[in-house]
Symmetry: C2
Subunit: 463 residues, 2 copies
């Protein structure tokens, strides 16, 4: 046992410090559950004060720590070195207050997204953030990674939904600003520093989240389009015509749609397989009948004007389920090949069509590539590629990375729209951030965590 672990054992209760076999029974990632965790210890604080105490000790002894929340990060942010101590936030799981009039919920960092969603439902309120890992992802990790997901177009990323924040700095200082107010221009908005910095500048311990009135209607349609320019026109047309209710505008390229609506997929295609592009759109409003009528009219006119070439409306709850299963059941793609490589990039909206075509054509030149599935939250400029490969080797992985990432620099794109940088994308950071930006990130890291103990080596490397 190292000195710092001994001191931590004295400072915390026995059940809050896991060692030896208890550490090995845990994992560093929810999708790597065959590899036992290797770390000096796992600490289980249950309060901000305990978190502060832990960091005071670790900082004093130059002991690096790694944060473990729901372990659903996609870029290796919970990867742990055996010389590191893991702090797990699983016991900081209290919902502290729901204020239905201020429309806020105050939570500790270890509360799981789905619990937040469910807790506010009885008040006819909605916490609009939503994504696949909602059953495991914790609010602290969600804030630290500025998570996105579906419905960002209407409600924004996590950054837009955080009103108050409490953070513990590397030296144990508690920065608390658990405010419920929407507007606050009293000095620097410090919370912005910690949202999306992946736990490298401070540890989120609590937050006040913004809630919205739960929508009373939901309508959807699957639309076929002849080319990418039509997709852009259709987005503008629908956005203008639906007056703030447009909440989803998911684009699928032809082969993606085909695969997601053909066996082994469990759902059938609502419109034929003949069109180059498919948009699945959603509006969240206040009146089901009116919204459905408006959608019908808008789509009729779009057909007449030749902006779109086919459309099917989801008019029942069963239809909604059907249409959204197509978009959400992306695992169907993975049945079509042995190995895959996935991307989450952003590109200015008008350029997506041409850039994605060029990238796909280049990828298809490689022998190892069997297929390329393209889809994304196009209203946010966010494109996902799933590249199916016949074999796994470092050289082709790098070739594929190069084909997808290298055009982004000249286009003002990003190598990570949603998932963050972590360790997996560190070497690509320079493709979308300048030398002076990276130098400024390092300056901030050195100022706020001078001993480099917080999530060391994630996003940037401090020499």
């Amino acid at each position: 046992m190292t000195d710092v672990v001994k001191i931590l054992k004295q400072a915390l209760a026995e059940h809050q410090v896991l060692l030896g076999e208890d550490v090995k029974e845990r994992y560093e990632h929810i999708w790597r559950m065959d590899q036992p965790l290797d770390a000096l210890a796992v600490l289980l604080p249950s309060s901000t004060e305990e978190m502060s105490q832990i960091l005071q000790i670790c900082n004093k002894y130059n002991q690096p720590v790694v944060l473990h929340g729901g372990l659903t990060n996609l870029v290796g942010n919970t990867i742990t070195d055996k010389e590191e101590i893991v702090i797990s936030t699983e016991r900081m799981n209290k919902i502290e207050e729901i204020d239905q009039h201020a429309r806020t919920i105050s939570v500790q960092c270890g509360v799981i997204l789905e619990e937040v969603q469910n807790a506010v439902k009885p008040y006819e309120l909605l916490f609009p953030l939503n994504f696949g890992a909602k059953g495991s992802a914790q609010i602290g990790g969600i804030i630290s990674t500025n998570a996105g997901g579906l419905r960002v177009f209407k409600y924004g990323m996590t950054r837009n939904l955080v009103l108050g924040l409490e953070v513990v700095l590397a030296d144990g200082t508690i920065l608390s600003s658990m405010k419920k107010i929407i507007k606050d221009n009293s000095g620097y908005d410090l919370k912005q520093l910690f949202i999306g910095s992946e736990g490298t500048l401070g540890i989120v311990t609590k937050a006040v989240l913004k809630l919205v009135e739960a929508p009373k209607s939901r309508v959807s349609a699957m639309v076929g389009l002849k080319d990418y320019d039509s997709v852009v026109s259709f987005l503008k047309y629908m956005d203008r015509g639906t007056a703030g209710t447009l909440s989803g505008f998911e684009l699928m390229w032809n082969n993606t749609y085909k695969t997601l609506t053909t066996e082994p997929a469990v759902v059938k295609p609502p419109i034929p397989h003949d069109y180059p592009y498919y948009v699945l759109l959603e509006c969240l409003g206040s009146n089901q009948d009116n919204d459905l009528q408006r959608l019908e009219k808008l789509l009729e006119t779009a057909l007449e004007k030749n902006i779109i070439i086919d459309a099917a409306i989801a008019s029942t709850e069963a239809d909604l389920q059907w249409f959204w299963t197509i978009r959400e059941d992306v695992r169907v793609m993975l049945t079509h090949f042995k190995y895959d490589q996935q991307f989450d990039i952003s590109i200015p909206i008008p350029l997506i069509g041409e850039v994605a075509n060029k990238i796909t054509a280049a990828l298809n030149q490689l022998d190892v590539v069997q297929t390329v599935f393209t889809f994304g939250h196009v209203a946010d400029g966010n494109v996902h590629f799933v590249v199916g490969k016949s074999e796994l080797n470092e050289t082709t992985t790098e070739q594929i990375n190069d084909i997808v990432y290298s055009p982004l620099k000249g286009l003002g794109g990003s190598v990570s729209a949603e998932h963050g940088i972590g360790v997996d994308k560190k070497k690509f950071l320079k493709l979308c951030r300048s030398d002076s930006e990276i130098a400024t990130m390092k300056l901030l890291k050195k100022s706020l965590d001078p001993k480099n103990i917080l999530n060391r080596g994630k996003i940037i490397t401090i020499e």
Copy 2:
């Protein structure tokens, strides 16, 4: 002429360096045009590179600078010391690009808000930020102060409308990230540091602003309510019923409404003077007839349910003009007394009624106070007080400040919802920010501007 001014004269073109009488012909604030500017020089860069060159020189020689944009700041941010050099951004006034498909506009920092609003109109796009000083306020200052104004409830503060940003740091380093993308989780979101930090961490030189589709309908109503709890219920009710179109929800207390609709005010009251609270609401949508019908139905039901006690709908363009003149022509209040003291605070929405009543009662105890006008963007938790006084002296000014500001600490409120801290509110900063928050602000300032040359002494004092 000091050494640094000589060097600057050599580095810049002659017309870019104003000295002596040319300095005195200028002002440090648009509302203090009787006092000539007193400064070492006024510099007029026209490009980011020139701004960088200026700061390299000033930083080398420890020369403090003050930024002058549209000079409309309300908290003394453009106040200039005679040992300082003024950098005016008035020549950095180019609109660089409007991208109607990405729905962005890229501008230099000196472009005026109204020019942005007008430039995007032909594309049926809207830059939704709007406030009284739109004819003078420059984008650089707007971003540096995270300006708010009307329609924040629907579209957010300036922070929500900045996609890309270019900033020059104190040492002349250019941090440029002029991206048009909505989602970008590639490392620290550095632009957040400079939005709302009032020019103390870096100088904004360019920005990519987010545009939205221009709404095709606008409906409004003036509503009377019996108590503050009803105001909160009505806000939730309208928000839920109007599905994302609610763009304004302005509250006026009885005496404010009365004053704004009685001579010398130019407009008459749409509903009688009998109610404790008045809400002026606005929805921006896609169909005038439908939206009007929906509003009528919603208000009928609200009357039946006793949530509201009276309502008048603005059904024509003239009505809209009439109703909004009431709220916007706040100068009418100033005709009712000789001296005034104004406040811009935020309070969690459910607490506003009681807190505002207590503050008003305490203010009315003071002999010097003639009247208190209360109104605000209540959907954002933002309350304005205009306190009318019979005389002007430091003691009563401080008493009034104390009555308004001191309750905020315990309530999680803010001494500045929109206007910022500048120099005028510096001494109140500690009422809404903790010691460790202020220490972190100072740490950031020292890291990014170690010689303390940028807007020195604004927000915080570096010893």
